[in-house]
Amino acid sequence: MTMLSDVISGEIPGRPVPFVDADNKVFYDGCARGELWLQRCVETHKFQFYPRPCSVFTGGPVEWVKSSGRGTVHTFTVIRRNYPEPYLESLTPYVVAIIEVAEGVRMMSNVTGCAPEDIIIGMAVAVYFSCVDENLRLFLPFWRPAG
């Protein structure tokens, strides 16, 4: 049984990294501090992901709120072959999952720190952050089984 190591987080040569822009700077600045920040519609108080400067519910303004960083696995796949870029070869098998964050939004990420066979839909996971570009101090959220 292969353990999904945290090697998929961290800086990996060849991995595309996010371009930080005006829409997502608060999000990635939060990641660098070890915090998951989400947007909430000012009028309806509903959360949204990904970041954008308007509410998907009303078109109106949004505000930033720090997330609990808790979630569950909504669905997942174990990537074993036919990866689109060479750098991914050494990482297989790896898990791509849709995480349902406690605040009600979903986001794609990797689940690490357990065997692929141990992952089930509904499993509780907790966010952690890993630096994917040391020069830029750019961190991304990843998830592992909640302790």
């Binding site: 595309p16 954008r52 669905t75 689109p84 990482l91 849709i98 839909i121």
Partner: protein
């Protein structure tokens, strides 16, 4: 009520497939154009509307480039890029344009050298190693195309108890149709055991749950019923047409087991005044086995979650009660990047009664359904052999 300006499909053609190293992407457009003019009896000068997504396998060239390439003197053109749903969307839009009198004759062309052009890549679009919003929230995690569909398949299995064998039936029925198409890429026998025992590519899906990668092109011409009287082919009627979108990136899919087919399907059937049970043959975008199952459910052939039980009796196979993807589909025959137009052309071919040994006997009503993005944009056409 049908009238002189009722839009009809009067020409369809395919370029060489599945392997055509002698054709560029533009060359596929050109060969399909020549063949659709021959098929319909029209000339390029008759065309006053043009629609194309360009030279897309997975890449996109300009509609304007293709208009230049063919020197089409269009009064109106459109290239809304909804991927595998684009050409069904085109028919929907062309219908309105022809009805309203903006154009009389609309040409659509598609072409891709995805298999033969070794420079093509499925790698994500990046600039100097950076990926921009909103793709930046997915690409760094290493998603793959099959993996994205596997997310939906896993959820379907979880919610409804759908089995890999039920999904495999879709690959098997499609392969049986491919055996009746001499051009299909894969025609050798495939069993459910073969499909479920093949190596997993992205759990829970394996090699035979995925479409083939081929070259291919297509063209289609629509005009008015009045103009069609002088043309070579019996016109095919567009009884219902609708498009809907739920998301574009897979991480944004609102419900991983419900597609926009649940919106565009019922709209198209309501326009046509028929129900899915009236359909003689279905041509449904089959990028992956799960795609077909979700489209069958969304269109209303069965209830949500019941796709597994619906397909497992073999009704999608040749001679079944709902022969589906009768040319061998994207799973076994031809998938050059955006398969939508091929499902449309197979539907027309069946309704014309020109499908040869794979002809569905007495086919009068067909549905063609395109899925673009990752189960994102779903356009549905209900087509008929007879004047409504």
């Amino acid at each position: 009520m049908p009238g002189a300006r009722t839009p009809v499909i009067v020409g369809v053609a395919l370029s060489d497939y599945p392997k055509a190293p002698h054709l560029t992407s533009h060359g596929h457009h050109a060969q399909a154009l020549q063949r659709v003019l021959e098929d319909s009896g029209l000339q390029t000068n008759d065309v006053d509307g043009y629609m194309s997504v360009g030279t897309g396998g997975m890449n996109v060239d300009d509609l304007a480039t293709m208009s230049e390439y063919f020197q089409i003197k269009h009064r109106w053109s459109e290239g809304t890029q909804t991927g595998g749903a684009a050409y069904m969307g085109f028919v929907d839009h062309a219908k309105t344009v022809i009805e309203s009198g903006i154009c009389d004759t609309v040409l659509m062309t598609y072409g891709s050298d995805l298999r033969s052009n070794k420079r093509r890549s499925l790698a994500p679009k990046t600039v100097d190693g950076y990926v921009e919003s909103p793709r930046c929230y997915e690409t760094p995690y290493g998603p793959t195309i099959l993996g994205n569909y596997a997310l939906a398949a896993r959820r379907h299995m979880h919610e409804f108890g759908t089995t890999l064998e039920q999904l495999a039936e879709i690959a098997v029925s499609t392969r049986q149709h491919a055996a009746n198409n001499p051009f299909a890429l894969n025609r050798e026998k495939l069993t459910i055991a073969d499909v479920v025992s093949a190596p997993r590519v992205a759990d829970p899906l394996g090699k035979w749950d995925a479409c083939v990668v081929t070259d291919g092109g297509a063209a289609l011409i629509m005009t008015t019923q009045e103009r069609a009287r002088d043309l070579k082919q019996k016109p095919i009627y567009i009884l219902g047409s609708a498009s809907a979108q739920t998301h574009w990136n897979i991480g944004q899919m609102p419900d991983y087991t419900t597609t926009a087919a649940a919106i565009s399907g019922p709209r198209a059937f309501a326009q046509a005044g028929i129900s899915p049970h009236d359909i003689d043959t279905a041509q449904l975008y089959d990028s992956f086995t799960i795609t077909v199952m979700l489209l069958l459910e969304g269109l209303g052939f069965c209830k949500r979650g019941e796709g597994g039980a619906f397909v497992q009796d073999g009704k999608l196979r040749p001679g079944g009660s709902l022969p589906t993807n009768t040319d061998g589909g994207g799973l076994s025959s031809c998938h050059p990047g955006m398969r939508g137009v091929f499902t449309l052309i197979e539907a027309v071919t069946q309704l014309r009664g020109q499908a040869g040994i794979r002809q569905v006997p007495n086919a009068k009503l067909a549905v063609a359904c395109g899925s673009g993005g990752i189960l994102s944009c779903i356009s549905t056409l209900v087509l008929g052999k007879d004047q409504p």
